[in-house]
């Protein structure tokens, strides 16, 4: 293996092969024996063919036309070159210290690059179309399957290499090598653990507790029942103390809707409302988008993602769309100071269905 005679070339004598003459020159594994090396490069039948005739004319038919095309192509290439230099100049020369400057710089850089590439491409196409001959050529494809000699040579080389490597003869090397690759193969499966931890019961509970005040999203101002008195009003509210907790708000955000008390019908839970004010989870039960398009004339809550429509006057029942369940209703009441508070957490999981929800 270490001592080699260089790659066997076609100039090697064809009548001797290492198989037949063990004392002959040793070969590098993977190179064909000299007998077949010739056959790999040039097949005998190819040699017999005369050199192909020249198929392409060296001059275009119409020299005047070619002259014109040459000028056009050359000017396009010069334009591309100038645009390319312009790109570099714009990159160096234009400041990017403000938003407007960045916009201007991007515009000039983009235009320069577009002109450079377009001119280059257009020049190339005109060159091909006007100056190069239009001749249909066919090129026969070689068979994909290797010749029997090549296949036999490969088999021989492979077996020879396998023997020489002693992969078969030395089982301890073979087995330890296989053992070494096992952890590498298993590692990606172990990494799947990063997709966890499993959510446990966190999907079933939100931050709402008995007595948690409803505060307005963004401002965090608690909502007094008397202040939220105009029928047709809505507010997005979150549990007090969780204004900046995005992970919790993804579950706990609530749409507070004011209706006239006589508008509310079953299956709305009347004990969970305060004087026509009803609170529903803002998280759509279909795929969890914020369902917040509210029409006060029809009291429909519409989810913008897939047009699930819920009737706020009837317990947020689904009246259209792919959602399967009503928006969960949050039990609310007022505290001693007249602020709206939760009576408890939601009585069912909010948001999209999940496998273990039941």
């Amino acid at each position: 293996m270490t001592e080699t005679n260089g790659p066997a070339g076609p100039e090697q004598p064809a009548e001797t092969t290492p198989d037949e003459t063990p004392e002959g020159p040793r070969r590098v594994v993977g190179t064909p024996p000299p007998a077949q090396a010739r056959a790999l490069l040039v097949r005998p039948e190819d040699e017999e063919k005369p050199p192909p005739e020249r198929e392409l004319p060296s001059e275009p038919d119409d020299l005047d036309r070619a002259k014109k095309a040459e000028k056009v192509v050359a000017s396009l290439f010069i334009l591309a070159m100038l645009a390319g230099f312009g790109f570099i100049a714009a990159y160096i020369g234009l400041e990017v210290h403000s938003l407007d400057a960045v916009l201007r710089s991007n515009l000039v850089l983009g235009l320069a690059m577009a002109i450079a590439f377009l001119a280059l491409g257009a020049g190339a196409v005109i060159w091909v179309r006007q100056l190069m001959p239009e001749v249909e050529l066919t090129e026969a494809r070689k068979p994909l399957r290797s010749s029997p000699e090549d296949r036999a040579a490969f088999k021989e080389t492979f077996e020879e290499g396998a023997d020489a490597s002693q992969f078969v003869k030395r089982p301890i090397l073979r087995r330890t090598l296989i053992a070494a690759t096992v952890p590498v193969a298993v590692a990606p499966i172990v990494l799947l653990r990063d997709m966890g931890p499993l959510p446990g019961t966190s999907l079933r509970h939100t931050a709402w507790r008995k007595g948690t005040r409803l505060v307005q999203a963004v401002t965090g101002v608690p909502v007094r029942s008397a202040d939220f008195a105009t029928p047709g009003g809505i507010l997005t509210v979150v549990p007090e103390g969780y204004l900046e907790n995005d992970e919790e708000l993804a579950k706990s955000t609530v749409l507070l809707i004011k209706l006239r008390p006589e508008q509310l019908e079953k299956p709305t839970v009347m004990n969970w409302t305060v004087d026509g004010t009803v609170a529903y989870s803002k998280i759509c039960t279909h795929l969890g988008c914020p369902a917040a398009l509210y029409e006060q004339t029809t009291h429909h809550i519409l989810c913008p993602c897939h047009q699930s429509t819920f009737d706020a006057a009837r317990g947020a029942a689904v009246i259209f769309g792919p959602a399967a369940r009503p928006l969960p209703q949050l039990p609310i009441t007022t505290d001693s100071e007249g602020y709206l508070v939760a009576q408890s957490d939601f009585h069912e999981p909010v948001g999209p269905s999940f496998w273990e929800r039941g």
Partner: protein
Amino acid sequence: MRWITARRRHPAAGYAVVLLMLVALGGGYAFLTGSGAAAAPVSGPSSESIAKGADLFARNCATCHGLNAQGTSVAPSLIGVGAAAVDFQVSTGRMPAKANDAEQARKPLAPDFSGPDGPANIRAVADYIQSLAGGPTIPTPAELDLSGADVGRGQELFIANCAACHNFVGAGGALTYGKYAPALNQSTPTEIYEAMVTGPEAMPNFANSTLTPEDKRDIIAYVTGKSTENNPGGFSLGRVGPVTEGLVAFLGILFAVILAGMWITAKQHGKTTR
């Protein structure tokens, strides 16, 4: 049609067809979307007599809303809606309505409410309705003073309360059964304020007791800031984000690629082939 058939094998015919389709698509789009009439912002002159308002009401509004604004089977009662609701509906041209559509669109003002007397007449009707049973009033210049407004906070409030229907840059969007939330790019601060306190049509209302005048000022600053913002590239494309931008870029590049492909592979005329 003979001149067309005679030229259908002309080298430029393919390009002409593709360009014609482009122009037809673009023109058709522009025709279908159209553009609305400009708004006539209303300043707040001193109030006219309530009697004049009642007279104008009887002439323009009573057909649907009833002689005493008590409402009929086709239109709601206006008792207690307040001057702000009247000012919003009439000054944007939504009322008097042309038809009982799902959504009243912004349109040119009715004769009584346009022209030099228009603002005063609108004010008179607003005062008349206000005199019936109160309600939200037309915002004062102090409430519309945007100096010191926090646009960033306005954006947060807009996204929490308004963006669901009106889109995050106020481009508007569809609702159910033909209703829609209009685009806000023509809305004046007065109109935005009035819409928030009165809740026109399907829009819920945002009373000053919950969404404070300060909150409203920030929201107005955000909306008007958005509608006066430049469109990088020169086209707004509805300002609804990367979906339309991506579609336009995709179609534009697609047509360019088709044209380039036609050019590269076209037969060469005036050149002998072997």
